[in-house]
Symmetry: C2
Subunit: 341 residues, 2 copies
């Protein structure tokens, strides 16, 4: 079975965006009330909306996608804690409905109702709700809810510890994933996302977070940002800073996905990062939607690159399935090993 | 001749830091006056201070270093425009003295007196002074003088255009280089530097800056941040955004250095980026100072990686010398081709 650890619901029915638009309009107009509910979306509309993902799964030979709300639309910087909570719950509930309609194809990961400067109590509650009541198996944690102003404490700060305690208690991981940028310096998918990945890794390198939480597991998406390309730099920085070897530092706690959209990048990732720390992911339908004229295939068809990488069968099996089962253990109750599909 | 396009004066005599400390102390104490002058530094002290760089040049088989003030110490966020100007002029003057003492080994690139929110007139003046009076051949341009808060306009904004006009008029390039981070999210050399590189590239991809300035040349250091590792992502983003092919977009205007501290990273860089757009650089004595136990050589001995890369002799010659002569043409008046040394 092939598990894609990184898929967002970028193709949701228009009612979801209409709700959001109404919510944002109400923020700007004090005489308007925020919308109470999402307009009705039928099961057929949901089925129709994920046809692109289902077709890509079939065409590319993948089985199940770990599926979360559209990352760029989380936009935690918009409105206040109530805005964020209302929006988040609707987004997560839709993911749950899709996963219920296609239990063989999707398993849920939640958006969190983060807000700049707000405490994490809402996030802890929503994590519990989605994991315990909706069967979700992880979450997307935004290290910069300000959307490109980077006003939150580093991920290694004790501010985040109550949330990490809940992650460990529920035995679910977090993917470190920012959202839209409202800073004109940062293109979202071309700069902000990769910068956040790089930033988070260096934060992890500097601190003893995983000594405090040996059971905490973080996925750094987009192939780890700049990190594998600069693996020598990070090995050297760790050495200069008298920190552990990178391979020890990340072993049980930090994982990179394979959302790197060309063969040389994937080859580098496989070359320098231990296979145990790599999870197959494609980010489809996501940041890059075109077909690469150099290959004739979609840029984000990362399965092709993983299939072509010079790694042994055991490593490939772990990257495509085994590691995801270890990092997201709650997936095992839904999908048994040996092609249960 | 081998030209290292990226060296900072990280080993300056202690009088320079003493001046800076006094300057910063005066900012905090309204009864104190800022220092008027740098304490006297003898030529012998300067000679002594660059022995590490000279030894590395000899040991590694490089000839001349394009040499600029310590990047992390530029700290444009400290004080006001006067603070920045005073500090910058002292830093640049010291570079000039070193280049005068060792004209075969160093050629100057200037720090700019940037300040968050301040106009660029000071920068234009200091660029003219250092190029016309001190014989410098380029500058380091900080896209984020706030030190990690990213409050300046993107590099493609018209705010920067008067400065670019001067760069083109003087026929000197800019290396896009941030300084220290005062945002606790960003480790300077482990996150902020690489994020800035990635950010700048995406800004260039989005706008028509080089249509407005066909003669403008920008070096993105640290191997281009995350960009070559994600070359497929950027090719795909350019395609989705209906922008030119990356190779066309960067051809005469955007260059990456080789400050990537392991062989797989350099191999990737050489594999995906045209050789004409790569300049040899080491960043020595800089971000990473240790010896790689995997190779027994310094991490930042990037010449070894370039020598070992699977490229042809012409590409290697261009990367080690020819491209730097094209990007920094004022170097040609100082160093003739064919091993003039």
């Amino acid at each position: 079975m092939v598990i894609d650890c990184h898929g967002h619901y970028t193709t949701a029915p228009r009612q979801l965006q209409a709700f959001r638009d109404e919510q944002i309009a109400a923020l700007k107009d004090p005489t308007a009330a925020p919308p109470k509910t999402l307009a009705s979306i039928s099961d057929d509309q949901l089925r129709e909306s994920v046809q692109p993902q289902l077709k890509f799964q079939t065409d590319r030979g993948t089985d199940v996608t770990i599926f979360s709300p559209r990352a760029s639309a989380m936009a935690h910087h918009i409105g206040d804690a109530t805005t964020s909570l209302d929006w988040t719950r609707h987004c997560n509930d839709l993911i749950h409905r899709v996963c219920t309609l296609f239990p063989q194809n999707f398993v849920g990961v939640c958006q969190l109702p983060q807000t700049p400067g707000a405490p994490l109590a809402n996030c802890i509650e929503e994590l519990e709700r989605t994991v315990n009541e909706l069967g979700f198996i992880g979450c997307n944690l935004n290290p910069d809810p300000s959307g490109g102003h980077w006003t939150a404490p580093p991920l290694t700060d004790r501010f985040w510890y109550p949330f990490y305690e809940k992650l460990v208690e529920l035995d679910v991981p977090a993917m470190v994933h920012v959202s839209a940028s409202c800073n004109s310096n940062f293109h979202a998918t071309g700069a902000h996302y990769l910068n956040a990945d790089t930033t988070a890794f260096m934060q992890f390198l500097q601190a003893d977070l995983f000594k405090d939480f040996p059971g905490l597991r973080m996925i750094i998406p987009h192939g780890g940002g700049a990190v594998p390309y600069h693996w020598g730099r990070y090995r050297g920085l760790a050495q200069d800073l008298k920190r552990p070897l990178l391979t020890e530092l990340i072993r049980d706690n930090v994982f990179f996905d394979t959302c790197v959209y060309h063969q040389p990048g994937i080859d580098l990732l496989m070359n320098v990062v231990p296979a145990e720390n790599i999870l197959f992911g494609s980010e489809m339908v996501g940041a890059v939607r075109g077909i690469d004229p150099q290959t004739g295939h979609y840029y984000d068809d990362t399965k092709r690159y993983v299939d072509a990488a010079a790694i042994d069968d055991r490593a490939r099996a772990n990257i495509l399935e085994g590691n995801a089962r270890r990092v997201y253990p709650r997936i095992n109750a839904k999908f048994k090993m040996q092609n249960a599909k």
